[in-house]
């Protein structure tokens, strides 16, 4: 039996393990399969939410398996690392044989392989092979990068070959994959990202990091000179929001940019994105008291923190606080003021005044229904600031990858063989057959086209 000799050297065995394409097929499928987990279980949420969703026991199991931060978990990263080692070892392993194909000392053509090819066409002609030899071999010489004519007993054979170098395509693709992984690694190690809310007219150089909430001082400041919102005609939907941003470095204005979504500012390795916006209320407004029974309204100008007497001297109310998003029994009420009311002779009670729901206070069923009017606002622009040195590498890897796919898919290494042989009936049989790297079916077209050209050449011969 011709059993392949199993090496006992452990280094060899590890090498061979990683040199197998079987491993890469297994790894790719495993990555595909395990990635599903992170799409079924919400990632990086609070423990309380998980316990509510899965129960205590499953929560503990999932936590141990790192399912809550799956793509950052050691085992997922290990799978990726294995894929990388696999790709590198596989490529090195095959480099020498690929090299020999691309730069052969002396190209060998095996007529057998062409005869067995499933991509084969033939026709017959009345002329002798010798009469056709010149024009066919000249055509092949012109059409293919390498060509060679061989005499046969009663005819001839011409080989043509092109695209040897495209065997490098796989290396180009795999290099791009490695580069991509390198870029992603650099992103995750050196990249960071934060936000800055900048009211119109103000300047700031502090951003708050995502995840950690730490503050970072930038070596430049941003100033928001203006902010505007455009709405779609006939609908309340926001069409565009735009901030006029000035970048200030060492006391000098170095850049002005009209910032909108999808068009970030690129500045010295930083990218600044238009992310959100909001309104900061000025602390002045009008309080409106509507009598619950009669609907009679009383208006009073007021400021935050000021004690405002209730109509008829029936107590007082103080607006104490403002929040951009107020959560009431699971509903987000949006921008909301919080007040404390002290009706005479009763204990103080909180009053919630959501700006966008003026009738909200009706629910309290008090003597008055309180709402706010004439609130003065100032816009702030919500900026996102990121620095990610991995991006150029990632994007370059994209370009290389697409190039590599194009080469391997559409320019494969192909060889064509034309035989012209005189048969016993006096006719000449001309056959065209082709083989391509890894039996790519595209060779079918090459054979077909070559045959069409040969037919045309034969016809021209006649006239």
């Amino acid at each position: 039996m011709n059993e392949p000799i199993k090496s006992v050297d452990p280094t060899d065995r590890i090498w061979n393990f990683f040199a197998s394409v079987k491993l890469s097929v297994v790894l790719l499928l495993t990555l595909a399969l395990t990635s599903i987990i992170g799409t079924l279980i919400p990632q990086n949420k609070e423990a309380a939410q998980y316990i509510q969703q899965f129960g205590e026991t499953w929560h503990r199991i999932f936590g141990t398996l790192n399912f809550y931060d799956m793509y950052g978990s050691w085992w997922f990263q290990l799978l990726l690392a294995l894929l990388i080692v696999n790709t590198i070892v596989c490529s090195i392993e095959r480099l020498s044989s690929t090299w020999k194909v691309i730069f052969p000392e002396k190209p060998v053509y095996k007529a057998d392989r062409f005869r067995k090819s499933q991509y084969r066409r033939s026709l017959s002609d009345t002329r002798k092979p010798e009469e056709l030899k010149d024009s066919i071999s000249r055509y092949m010489e012109k059409r293919f990068r390498h060509s060679r004519v061989e005499p046969l007993e009663n005819g001839f054979r011409v080989y043509g070959e092109k695209g040897r170098w495209t065997r490098m395509g796989a290396y180009i693709i795999h290099t791009s994959v490695l580069l991509l992984v390198l870029g992603v690694l650099i992103s995750s190690m050196f990249g960071y990202e934060g936000r800055m809310n900048l009211p119109v007219g103000e300047t700031n150089n502090t951003m708050i990091l995502r995840h950690s909430d730490a503050r970072i001082q930038l070596d430049f400041s941003l100033r928001c000179d203006d902010f505007s919102i455009t709405h779609y005609p006939g609908s309340g939907r926001v069409q565009e929001y735009r901030s006029e941003i000035a970048i200030i470095q060492d006391g000098e204005e170095v850049k002005n940019h009209s910032l909108i979504v999808n068009d970030p500012i690129r500045f010295r390795g930083y990218s600044i994105y238009q992310s959100t916006y909001g309104r900061i209320p000025e602390d002045a407004f009008t309080l409106v008291f509507a009598e619950a029974e009669s609907g009679l309204e009383t208006r009073k100008k007021a400021e935050k923190g000021e004690e405002v007497p209730l109509p008829g001297g029936r107590g007082q109310i103080t607006i104490q606080d403002y929040t951009n998003n107020f959560n009431f029994r699971g509903h987000n009420l949006g921008p909301t003021y919080l007040a404390m009311m002290e009706p005479t002779g009763e204990s103080p009670r909180p009053v919630i005044l959501p700006v966008e729901h003026p009738n909200f206070d009706r629910m309290r069923q008090g003597e008055f229904i309180v709402r706010l009017e004439n609130i003065d606002y100032r816009y702030f622009t919500g900026l996102q600031i990121a620095r990610d040195p991995g991006i150029p590498i990632v994007f370059i890897s994209f370009v290389i990858m697409v190039l590599g796919f194009f080469i391997t898919f559409y320019m494969a290494h192909r060889q064509v063989c034309i035989e012209a042989v005189r048969k016993d009936d006096g006719k000449t049989e001309i056959s065209v057959s082709g083989i391509a790297a890894n039996r790519r079916p595209g060779i079918n077209m090459t054979v077909k086209r070559t045959m069409e050209r040969i037919e045309r050449i034969l016809k021209r011969h006649h006239t």
Partner: protein, 277 residues
């Protein structure tokens, strides 16, 4: 004046006719039916293109001007269009009409789904994050990829159908192209599809970087498109490096298609929020 939604309802019907004609042509070896199938396919594809362009104009008339690639409804319209285009190209180049039944049926189903009330055919204004040329390139490349992979799936089904019986050359199986042809066609469609879903992933990443400041975020839709990509990468390695063919290749192609469908439709059922589809 007719609107694009009305045209689409005609087009849906014509894709259905086309599938039916191809089916008759296939089972009864009727040449006329095959010709009718091709004619209907051409008419439906052109009609689909017209509806796409008309809808594009309608967005401008409403003052929302954008290429109609920004909602589930609009993507389905574009999906059926790409199926029509790629199928017609395959028929023109390879002259096999059996696949026409599946292609017509797929386009029909896509449009029938689009007509469900839950899909919502109204033209909506674009939110700022979607106003990007990258979105257009992203969606277009993806759907050329999806359509091609859908046809690859159809061819794989034909392969399994042909190999299911005792004799691959009896009855209606006789008209299915040979195993070698089906195998080659699957591979070529997957190759083209893979190239385009790769371009889709890449343009998506470039767009995400511009709009949200990150090129990848493991959101369910992104993750599922990567899963799909991994499966087709597996298929290519199995075919090119390990010489897998036939049924085994057909199974991977079907698996990949299932992942693709889930990426397209199923992700909405999962927790998390992907932009708009």
């Amino acid at each position: 004046m007719t609107d694009s939604i009305t045209i689409i309802s005609y087009v849906t019907f014509i894709f259905g006719i086309s599938a039916l004609s191809y089916a008759i042509g296939w089972i009864f070896r009727a040449r006329w039916a095959n010709i009718a199938g091709t004619t209907a396919m051409v008419v439906a594809t052109l009609g689909n293109l017209a509806a796409f362009i008309l809808r594009w104009m309608e967005t401008y008339w409403l003052g929302y001007g954008h290429m109609p690639l920004a909602s589930l409804y609009e993507s389905l319209i574009f999906f059926s269009l790409t199926i029509g285009i790629i199928y017609l190209y395959v028929e023109y180049r390879f002259r096999y009409r059996v696949i026409g039944f599946f292609a017509g049926l797929s386009a029909f189903l896509a449009l029938a789904y689009a007509s469900l009330p839950s899909v919502g055919s109204q033209i909506q204004p674009l939110m700022p994050a979607l106003q990007s040329n990258w979105l257009i390139i992203h969606v277009m490349t993806y759907f050329f990829g999806y359509a091609s992979l859908t046809l690859a799936f159809c061819v794989s089904l034909l392969f399994l159908l042909k190999s299911a019986g005792k004799n691959p050359d009896d009855g209606f199986r006789a008209h299915i192209p040979g195993f070698r042809t089906l195998d080659d066609l699957t591979y070529q469609l997957v190759m083209f599809g893979f190239l385009f879903i790769t371009l889709g992933l890449i343009t998506g990443a470039v767009w995400a970087e511009q709009a949200w400041g990150r090129y990848w975020g493991w959101d369910p839709k992104e993750t599922w498109s990567l899963i799909t990509w991994f499966i087709y990468a597996t298929l290519l390695h199995a075919r090119l490096m390990r010489g897998w063919e036939g049924k085994r290749l057909a199974y991977i192609s079907i698996l990949g298609f299932a992942a693709m469908l889930f990426t397209y439709f199923g992700v909405n059922l999962l927790p998390g929020l992907h932009s708009y589809l």
